[in-house]
C-alpha cells in the first residue's frame, strides 16, 4: 500500500479515517500494555489487596515482595539459571546456525539443497512431540538433571528457523563482496566473520529475539529434564507459587515482573535492528 496517510492538509473524510486508524492502534496498544502494567502494579501489592481491589493502584511502593521472591524464594538462582542456559543456547544457535546458513548460501555442492531441506524440515516438526525419544536419549547420555540436556534441545529447536532466515539474508549479499574480501586476503572464515556476519547483523538480531524469547519462556523442557531445585529456571520456579489450595498472587506477579525484564531489555536494545531485519527488502 502506497496510500499517503498524512494528516495535515487532508480532506475531512480522510482525516476521520486517519483518526480512526490511530484510535485502533491506541486501543491495541492499551490492550497489550494494560495486563503488563497491571502485573507490575500488582507486584507491589499484597495478595489480600489484589483480591480485594484487583484494578487499584498499590498503596505504597514497597519492594518487600521483590526481596521475598529474590532471596526468600531463591529466584536469584532461577534467574541466573535461566540467563546462562538461554545465553548458552543462543550462542550455539547463532554460531552453528549462521555457519550452516553461510555454507548453504555460499557453497554449491551436490548435496547442498538436501542439507538445506533437512534443516528446513525441522521447522515442521514440533519438538515437544518427540519428548519420549528425547527423554530416552538424554537418559542414555547421562544428561538427566543436567542443564546441557535443555541447552542441546534448545539449540536444536532454534537451528532450523535460524538457518532458514539467515541463509535467505546471506543469499541476498552479492558474491562480489566475498570475492573482494578473498582478493583482499580473507580466508573463508574471515569472509564469514568479518564481512558476511556484520552485513547480516539486522537478521542476526532478528533471529536472536525470535529464538531467545521462547527459550527464556520455555517451561516444558526444563520441567521434564531438570528435576533438582538448583537447576530450575524461572518459568519452572514460578510454579512454586501455585499451591493446591491457594495461589500466592503477589509473589507470582513479582516473579513475573522479574522474568520479563531481560526480554524487555533485549527488545529495547535490538528493536532498531530487529525492525530493519523484519522489513529488509520491503523498502528500497
Amino acid at each position: 500500500m502506497t496510500t499517503d496517510l498524512r494528516f495535515r492538509g487532508s480532506r475531512p473524510a480522510r482525516k476521520a479515517l486517519i483518526l480512526l486508524i490511530e484510535l485502533a492502534f491506541i486501543a491495541y496498544a492499551l490492550l497489550i500494555f494494560y495486563p503488563l502494567a497491571n502485573m507490575v502494579l500488582s507486584s507491589f501489592k499484597s495478595t489480600r489487596d489484589i483480591l480485594r481491589a484487583p484494578f487499584s493502584l498499590p498503596s505504597s511502593i514497597d519492594f518487600a515482595n521483590y526481596a521475598a521472591v529474590w532471596i526468600g524464594k531463591g529466584f536469584a538462582r532461577y534467574f541466573l539459571n535461566s540467563l546462562w542456559i538461554t545465553a548458552a543456547s543462543m550462542v550455539l544457535v547463532l554460531l552453528l546456525g549462521s555457519m550452516a546458513a553461510y555454507g548453504v548460501s555460499r557453497y554449491r555442492f551436490r548435496l547442498s539443497t538436501l542439507v538445506y531441506m533437512i534443516f528446513l524440515s525441522g521447522i515442521m516438526l514440533p519438538l515437544k512431540a518427540a519428548i519420549i525419544p528425547l527423554f530416552i536419549i538424554m537418559k542414555k547420555a547421562g544428561l538427566m538433571d543436567n542443564p546441557f540436556s535443555v541447552i542441546l534441545i534448545f539449540a536444536a529447536m532454534g537451528l532450523p528457523s535460524t538457518v532458514f532466515i539467515l541463509s535467505g539474508f546471506m543469499k541476498s549479499v552479492p558474491m562480489d563482496l566475498d570475492n573482494a574480501a578473498r582478493i583482499d586476503g580473507c580466508s573463508d572464515w574471515g569472509i564469514y566473520w568479518r564481512i558476511i556476519m556484520p552485513v547480516v547483523a539486522p537478521a542476526v538480531s532478528l533471529v536472536t529475539i525470535y529464538n531467545a524469547v521462547p527459550i527464556w519462556n520455555d517451561f516444558f523442557f526444563p520441567l521434564v529434564f531438570l528435576q533438582s531445585d538448583r537447576w530450575k529456571t524461572l518459568p519452572v520456579g514460578l510454579t512454586s507459587f501455585f499451591g493446591q489450595y491457594s495461589t500466592n498472587w503477589s509473589l507470582l506477579f513479582t516473579g513475573l515482573s522479574i522474568a520479563v525484564l531481560p526480554v524487555l531489555f533485549l527488545y529495547i536494545f535490538m528493536s532498531k535492528y530487529f525492525i530493519r531485519g523484519m522489513t529488509a527488502g520491503a523498502v528500497k
Binding site: L177, N179, A180, R182, I183, D184, G185, I195, A201
Partner: protein, 373 residues
C-alpha cells in the same frame, strides 16, 4: 614489475559448457590491456581466472614468470575493481581501503599513510569517514579504485567498472583511469563490452567472442587491420559496412560487382583478389571512407538512397541503401540531405577490406597478434 601470460587457458564448466577456449595472451609490464567483446564472450571469466576467483580448467597462467594456477587470489599480488564496486557496507571508506592491509597485518602507521595517499590521488580525502551508502556512484567507484591502489599490487584487474555510471561520469572516470595508469605505471587488465572504452583506454586490446580470442593488438591496428568480420564490425562506431559483392575481371581489371554498382579494386589489393575472381566476397568499408561524390561522377561510385539522416553537429551519419543492401556513411555537415535523396558515394578503395564469405576472415594479410612473431 609484472608480466601476465595466459597459455592455452580454457574454462569448462560442469555439463561441458565451454566459457573460454585456448586463450593465448601475453600482457607485458605496465600495459593497459582491455578485454572486449559482447556479453557472454568469456572476457569476465578470463579476468576472474587471472584473479583466482575461478579455477583454471585448461592451460597455464603465469604472473611474473611464476605459474599461479593453484595459487589463491590473496597470494597472486593482484587487486580487483568490481562492476558493482563491492564495497563493504558496514565499514567506512577508510576501513574499506585499509581492510586488505589490515588483513596482511601491516603496521598501523603505514596503513594510515597509504590510505591517505590513495585518497589524495583520488580526491576522496573528505569522504574517508563516510559509509558506502552515503556516497554517489562516482564516489563509490573511486573508493573501489582506492581500495585497489593502497594494496600496491603487481596487477590491477577491472571488471566493467564504469558500466553502472551515467554517460557523463563514465567519460570523466575513463580519463581519470587513463591518468591513473600513467601515474602508477602498473599493469592493468580491464574488461568491458564497450568498444569506445576499449579504444580510448587500452594500449592493447583483446577482442573475444564465444570464448575465443579473435585478435590482439593496439586500438588502431585492430581498427585498420581487423582479422575477421566480427572484429571489423565490433570495433568502430557506427560499425563498418559489409556489402555482399562478386569479384569479377573485366578487360584485365579486377572489380567488385554488387549488382547495382561496380568498383575498381585498389592496386595493392589486386594480386590478392585475383584468387577470388568469380567468387562472392564481403566488401567492408568504414563509414568515414565513404565520401559522397559531388557533381555526380558516374564511374566507381555506389548509388544509394538516403533512409535516415543523423546530424551530430560536427558530422552527419547518413544511413542509405543500395537497391538491396544498407550502408552508413560519416560525412561532413556541409550538405543537408533529406530522406529519399539519391546519393553517390565514392569509396576510398585503398581502405577497403575484403572478407572471405565462408570463413569470414580478412583476405588481406593481417596478424592475429600484432606483437607476436
Amino acid at each position: 614489475m609484472a608480466k601476465v601470460e595466459l597459455m592455452k587457458i580454457g574454462k569448462v564448466y560442469e555439463g561441458n559448457v565451454r566459457a573460454v577456449d585456448d586463450a593465448n595472451i601475453t600482457i607485458n609490464d605496465k600495459e593497459f590491456v582491455v578485454f572486449v567483446g559482447p556479453s557472454g564472450c568469456g572476457k569476465s571469466t578470463t579476468l576472474r581466472m587471472i584473479a583466482g576467483l575461478e579455477d583454471i580448467t585448461e592451460g597455464d597462467l603465469f604472473i611474473d614468470g611464476k605459474k599461479v594456477n593453484d595459487v589463491p587470489p590473496k597470494d597472486r599480488d593482484i587487486a580487483m575493481v568490481f562492476q558493482n564496486y563491492a564495497l563493504y557496507p558496514h565499514m567506512t571508506v577508510y576501513e574499506n581501503m585499509a581492510f586488505g592491509l589490515k588483513i596482511r597485518k601491516l603496521p598501523k602507521a603505514e596503513i594510515e599513510q597509504r590510505v591517505r595517499e590513495a585518497a589524495r590521488i583520488l580526491d576522496i580525502e573528505k569522504l574517508l569517514e563516510r559509509r558506502p551508502k552515503q556516497l554517489s556512484g562516482g564516489q563509490r567507484q573511486r573508493v573501489a579504485v582506492g581500495r585497489a591502489i593502497v594494496r600496491n599490487p603487481k596487477v590491477f584487474l577491472f571488471d566493467e567498472p564504469l558500466s553502472n555510471l551515467d554517460a557523463k561520469l563514465r567519460v570523466q572516470m575513463r580519463a581519470e583511469l587513463i591518468e591513473l595508469h600513467d601515474r602508477l605505471d602498473a599493469t592493468m587488465i580491464y574488461v568491458t563490452h564497450d568498444q569506445v572504452e576499449a579504444m580510448t583506454m587500452g594500449t592493447k586490446i583483446v577482442v573475444m567472442r564465444d570464448g575465443k580470442v579473435q585478435q590482439i593488438g593496439s586500438p588502431l591496428y585492430l581498427y585498420n587491420h581487423p582479422i575477421n568480420k566480427f572484429v571489423a564490425g565490433f570495433i568502430g562506431s557506427p560499425p563498418m559496412n559489409f556489402l555482399n559483392v562478386k569479384v569479377i575481371e573485366e578487360g584485365g581489371t579486377v572489380m567488385i560487382d554488387e549488382g547495382s554498382f561496380k568498383l575498381k579494386v585498389a592496386n595493392e589489393h589486386v594480386a590478392l583478389m585475383k584468387a577470388y575472381v568469380g567468387k562472392e566476397v564481403s566488401f567492408g568499408i568504414r563509414p568515414e571512407d565513404l565520401p559522397y561524390a559531388e557533381g555526380g561522377s558516374v564511374t566507381n561510385v555506389i548509388n544509394a538512397k538516403v533512409t535516415v539522416v543523423e546530424p551530430l553537429g560536427a558530422e552527419i551519419h547518413l544511413w542509405a541503401s543500395t537497391p538491396t543492401q544498407p550502408l552508413v556513411a560519416r560525412v561532413p555537415p556541409h550538405h543537408l540531405f533529406k530522406i529519399g535523396d539519391a546519393v553517390a558515394f565514392n569509396p576510398v578503395m585503398t581502405k577497403a577490406i575484403f572478407f572471405d564469405r565462408d570463413t569470414e576472415l580478412s583476405i588481406l594479410p593481417v596478424k592475429w597478434d600484432e606483437q607476436a612473431n
